[in-house]
């Protein structure tokens, strides 16, 4: 709402003054460093061609594909899991419901390293799944230190965030629509496909995009599980520390940042337009 003319119109200088501290901090510690990062990315032995190596160099391109692949798989799995559990918990209130919600959102604040450790507790060398599979007479099941472990960790990390969004969006869905569909003869699956999923689409889009972007940029989980997992953040870290190839690390991380930002911006546009269409 634009300020009405009158006494409060003279507020503008004060508003600028209030914005200034955050603006200066942001310009000095984000915008300026990002420009510098971009310039350094082009200052290596390859020059500006460094920005193209993410596609031309088979090694980097492979880790880009692996990163996008594990992020896409994480997003799909998390949306399905959190969609089912979130809608269920919001629609059915029963004793213990609040405790289940509390448990499902508990790992919300775990850093990636801790999530990696949780995967090791589950599927590591001394992990629970290994013990169970051995007890059942099968080979010891150990997958924590691989791409499957990374995927498990990212799903673990993403479920609490997505479930909260799904539950908030389900609360706003009108149960009467589902009852109407049911009384018109729709099957339970039909209600889910034609009423619930379209109603939750904006929530799925926005939380899915955040899930994807987080999985693309995450570093802690891969770091805890194994340095051999070939995802882009690990590649960047290796270039920076082991190879001291700062220019290449800068170029790769700039591209990684651009990719995640673009995914989020795209999803926001899509979610926004579908919200407008629904309204």
């Amino acid at each position: 709402m634009p300020a009405k003319p009158g006494k409060m119109q003279r507020d503008t200088p004060m508003l600028v003054a209030l914005m200034l501290p955050a603006g200066i901090f942001f310009a000095a510690f984000f915008l300026l460093p990002m420009v510098r990062l971009f310039l350094i990315g082009g200052s290596g032995t390859l020059g500006w061609a460094a920005y193209a190596t993410i596609v031309t160099n088979a090694n980097y391109f492979g880790s880009l594909l692996a990163t996008l692949g594990v992020a896409a798989a994480t997003t799909a799995a998390t949306l399905v899991i959190s969609g089912i559990a979130g809608v269920f918990l919001q629609r059915h209130k029963f004793p213990g419901n609040a405790a289940l919600v509390a448990m499902l959102t508990f790992p919300l604040a775990f850093p990636g390293v801790v999530v990696g450790f949780m995967v090791i507790m589950l599927a590591g060398r001394q992990g629970l799944l290994g013990d169970i599979s051995q007890m059942l007479g099968a080979d010891k099941l150990v997958f924590a230190y691989s791409m499957a472990g990374l995927f498990t960790g990212y799903v673990y990390f993403s479920i609490p965030r997505v479930i909260l969004t799904v539950m908030a969006a389900t609360e706003k869905l009108d149960p009467k629509l589902e009852e109407a569909a049911r009384s018109l003869g729709a099957s339970p699956l039909g209600v889910v496909l034609d009423v619930i999923i379209p109603g939750l689409k904006p929530a799925f889009l926005s939380s899915g995009a955040i899930c994807f972007a987080t999985a693309v940029g995450a570093f802690g989980t891969a770091f805890t599980l194994a340095t051999r997992i070939n995802v882009l953040p690990m590649t960047i870290y290796t270039e920076f520390t082991l190879s001291a190839n700062i220019a290449m690390a800068a170029a790769l991380s700039f591209v990684l940042g651009a990719v995640t930002w673009a995914v989020l911006a795209l999803a926001r546009t899509a979610a926004g337009s579908s919200v407008a269409a629904a309204g």
Binding site: P21, F30, M34, A109, P111, L128, P233, F240, G257
Partner: protein, 270 residues
């Protein structure tokens, strides 16, 4: 609720319990491992606080540093974020939207990229690079959007315009209105934002791993160290200490985010 609890209900309940187990069982295992004499032999080897003691002796400095950075980060985000949120609530034009979009970027792009950018821009200032304030800058960048959005959400839900016009017609100047009308009205948003900022700062790893020096290790950095180089029991005990720190924050956050919806529904009850 008119719905009958048919087979679908129990299937969904079973699925939800399975998801719960996936999230909570590793937490319980890790807590147990942290207080077990020898996790490989099993719980029968007896319980001990030896590992917790070892963590305290070796890593207590990282715990206090993390708390210090989180509190400093909170002060910074309060001072920078609340005024910024107020401005964005007052001026909802294209420029304000662009500024909001920009401010969220440190959350959208990977912490690794932000940290590298800070290092190439300011890594040469050795006094700054080796101090804990270097980590603080990264944490403020990452958490500021959460404070701004939390306060902005509350300010957009109330009729700020009418409140301020009322105060202005009674002769209140800009700063009087800001401190006596705006700030008290957004205290819910400030509190929720503050809890979020502290929780995120305590757990931040992606940036901190590149920003830290051997003398400025934070709790998650110490955890990564312990996981990589110490036995499972010590890593678990350290994780236990981390859980003890964040659980009160999480409970406060959950307790707080619940009644807020009702406040939104009928603001006059506040």
């Amino acid at each position: 609720m008119a719905q009958k609890r048919g087979i679908l209900f129990w299937l969904q309940l079973g699925f939800t319990l399975l998801v719960c187990a996936f999230l909570i069982v590793p937490v319980i295992l890790s807590i147990l491992a942290g207080v077990t004499n020898n996790y490989f032999t099993g719980l029968s080897s007896g319980f001990t606080l030896r590992w917790v003691g070892q963590v305290w002796a070796g890593y207590s400095d990282t715990i206090f540093r993390s708390i210090g950075i989180a509190l400093a980060c909170l002060v910074c985000t309060l001072l920078l974020g609340i005024p910024a949120a107020y401005v964005l609530a007052k001026r909802q034009n294209a420029l304000a939207r662009a500024i909001e979009e920009l401010m969220v970027m440190p959350v959208a792009i990977p912490g690794l990229a932000t940290a590298l950018a800070l290092i190439v821009a300011y890594g040469g200032l050795s006094g700054f690079r080796t101090s804990w304030t270097f980590i603080l800058v990264g944490h403020v960048l990452f958490t500021l959007p959460f404070m701004v959005r939390s306060v902005l959400a509350v300010l957009s839900a109330i009729d700020l315009q009418t409140l301020e016009e009322g105060a202005a017609s009674l002769g209140a100047g800009f700063w009087t209105r800001f401190f006596t009308v705006v700030l008290p009205n957004c205290r819910n948003g400030i509190l929720a934002g503050a809890l979020m900022v502290v929780t995120l700062s305590v757990g931040e790893f992606n940036m901190t791993w590149l920003l830290h020096t051997p003398l400025t290790k934070t709790l998650p950095v110490g955890l990564a160290d312990a996981y990589a180089s110490l036995r499972l029991e010590v890593g678990s005990a350290y994780t236990l200490v981390f859980f003890l720190m964040i659980v009160p924050l999480l409970i406060a956050l959950q307790w707080f985010s619940r009644p807020r919806r009702q406040v939104h529904a009928k603001p006059e009850s506040e």
